[in-house]
Amino acid sequence: MNQRISVLLCAVLALILPIQAIFAVEAGGKAPDCGLTSMRDAQRYDLRQFHGKVLYVDFWASWCGPCAKSFPFLNSLHEKFSKEGLQILGVNLDENPADAKEFLGKYPADFTVAADADEQCARDFDVKAMPSSYLVDRKGVVRHIQLGFRPGEAKELQSLVERLLAEHAGAQ
């Protein structure tokens, strides 16, 4: 009986699972290229332009609690490693830019914060959760996908960043 229920459930789930994630970004794959606008000075960024740096792309929104928790960590990463070639991009996905501004007032960011107004980056990266972070090595390969943020995982993330910074350090 139990099994029959789970079979039924599965059938239901099959119906509702949208067909997607076909072009999913995977660890080990090439990072997509997409354009962003700086929230500070409206400057346009292209992800390609950070080639040769270790790129930490963090998708966030003002309504996301763990995002707020991740900001102090991202600030500390920026402070420690930006000189060694770490580029942090906080990609905001708020529908209302005013919400993002208010959030940044409460939780100031030292790293680069950019808006993804047409959600192109979010789609290209196939963002699965908020926050989602993608660690891209100096060769443009996605090396780690971090979904969510838990303070206990910060240490591990930092050591991964250090490892990626050490790889091909002289490449550029």
Partner: protein
């Protein structure tokens, strides 16, 4: 017994059928859903107080609240 086992499965089928017509909501599109007023239970502490009052005066408030509560007699 039969009834209790079929109910969830039936519910799933009905809603599964409905859902195939639902628009998928991307993770970054859930700003409204994340608002406190959109939580299924907006005020859990108050709900506790209320359900205790209801269950001390109504026959049907049990069923999903068999635990705790005491008899609330008198």
């Amino acid at each position: 017994m039969k009834r209790s086992q079929l109910a969830p499965a039936a519910a799933c089928l009905i809603f599964g059928a409905c859902l195939s017509g639902c628009a998928p909501v991307a993770p970054w599109e859930r700003g409204n859903l994340a608002k406190p007023q959109m939580a299924l239970d907006v005020n859990p502490m108050l709900s506790t107080l209320r359900s205790h009052n209801y269950s001390s005066r109504e026959a049907a408030s049990g069923g999903s609240s068999a635990a705790g509560g005491g008899c609330g007699c008198y």
